[in-house]
């Protein structure tokens, strides 16, 4: 079972790295939003550093969404999903492997790139550190929630928009606590750990509900 998990994880990472894979797409999209906003707002550094965490979090949410519709659809279209069902590993395991691979190529690079992009929105060093921490802990929640939507829309031809409409409302709590934790780190009335722990809890809940939910959606999908 562990072997199947690892094999699938490696396959998806390989696919993401090949031509036409979704590897850097999310990161570039993230970069685009974060670079555009300072141009739109003008050179007000105080304003930028105040809304910086919010900009980075909204950009991370959108960057997570952008490749999500292909998460299961690509396997559905070429018949690989039928192959994945034939393993002795349960479908939940298949979903988990795919989502972890997806997070490694989209969520993780966002968190790692956050300090660089933090410069563009005039974040303080503590603010950058907090951004990395909150994105690292919070983006798994976004990916797992998105996976349920991806599974539900896997057999739709152009499911991207429906997917976004379905999952964005459920991503709002993650966004709220992610931004408030990042803000708390650079000053404010609440301690950093309070929203941060709730963010971690949201990720853990999403990991369970998302995995089981996406597997159930795939089972009933045919």
């Amino acid at each position: 079972m562990i072997r199947s998990f690892r094999t699938l994880l490696i396959r998806d990472l390989k696919l993401a790295a090949r031509v036409g894979g979704s590897g850097v797409m999310g990161l570039i999209f993230f970069l685009m939003i974060v670079t555009l906003i300072p141009f739109a707002l003008g050179p007000d550094l105080n304003l930028l550093s105040r809304i910086g965490p919010a900009i980075l979090w909204v950009a991370a949410l959108l960057a997570t969404l952008i490749g999500l519709d292909r998460l299961f659809q690509a396997d559905q279209e070429d018949g690989s999903l039928d192959l994945l069902r034939l393993s002795h590993a349960p479908l939940e395991m298949v979903v988990l492997a795919k989502v972890v691979a997806y997070w490694l190529v989209t969520g993780l690079p966002l968190a790692v790139a956050a300090p660089l992009l933090g410069l563009l929105v005039a974040l303080s060093p503590e603010g950058m550190l907090a951004m990395v921490a909150t994105l690292l802990v919070g983006t798994p929640a976004l990916t797992f929630i998105g996976a349920v939507g991806a599974a539900l829309t896997s057999s739709l031809r152009r499911g991207g928009l429906i997917l976004a409409i379905l999952v964005v409302p459920f991503m709002i709590p993650t966004l709220i606590f992610g931004v408030s934790a990042a803000n708390a780190a650079v000053g404010g009335t609440i301690p950093f750990m309070t929203p941060f722990l709730i963010l971690a809890a949201l990720s853990l809940i999403a990991a369970v509900v998302g995995t089981v939910g996406a597997a159930a959606a795939l089972r009933s999908g045919e």
Binding site: S4, K14, D78, D82
Partner: protein, 218 residues
């Protein structure tokens, strides 16, 4: 060790299977049994439900009624005991033929032939390092069929396995199938052109009486 893990006594019995898709009865009262070494060829017009029957056996669709029983399978479920090669090749175009097969080998468990050997068996050893995107339809089909050889599974479900294959490859496929049967395997295949399998059972699926006028379509 990997050959015939308990599949000598494996027996597939299907009873009064019926299939509905979108409120329409596609077929009903399909029954057959399959013992080790036996092959079943399913024929029928386009849209008669041949692929749907394979989908039900593979666990992709739920039957409207009827039972499928795999006897003497031990711990394994039906879907863990079968290979399914459908119309869609289940190959990743960005990966090479060899990578596709080694993924299937590791993922499915019960490894049998190495990817290279399996590709040799379908006459594609030279294409092992090519991305599947560069292969022709017939070559892709052969890579998909090579998947049958990399993991040992007693029951093979093949949906029109000869489509897009040239005559030499069709003969090669026939030999692979006969070899699988000699080792105690079972085969269920849908087809329009004869597969020339030795004393294979055959069932013909017809549309249920409620739908569609009878009489051959052109």
């Amino acid at each position: 060790m990997q050959r015939g893990q308990g599949c000598e006594s494996l027996r597939l019995s299907v009873n009064n299977l019926a299939c509905e898709r979108g409120e329409r009865r596609i077929f009903q009262d399909v029954s057959f049994t399959l013992d080790p070494g036996e092959a079943l060829v399913i024929t029928g017009r386009n849209g008669a439900g041949k692929s749907s029957l394979l989908d039900i056996l593979a666990g992709r669709l739920h039957p409207a009624s009827g039972t499928i029983l795999l006897e003497e399978a031990g711990e394994r479920t039906l879907s863990e005991s079968l290979h399914y090669v459908g119309h869609r090749d289940a190959l990743k175009a960005a990966l090479t033929a060899e990578e596709n097969l080694s993924f299937a080998r590791d993922f499915l468990g019960n490894p049998a032939l190495k990817p290279r050997e399996a590709l040799e068996a379908v006459g594609l050893a030279h294409a092992a390092r090519l991305p599947v995107a560069y292969l022709s339809a017939g070559q892709r089909r052969r890579v998909a069929l090579a998947r049958l050889l990399v993991a040992h599974r007693p029951l093979w479900l093949l949906d029109e396995p000869t489509s897009a294959l040239d005559t030499a490859s069709q003969e090669n496929l026939r030999l692979l199938l006969e070899n699988h049967r000699e080792n105690g395997g079972m085969i269920v295949a849908t087809t329009h052109s004869p597969l020339f399998l030795r004393d294979a059972k055959e069932i013909r699926i017809e549309r249920s009486r409620s739908s569609a006028p009878t009489g051959e379509s052109a």
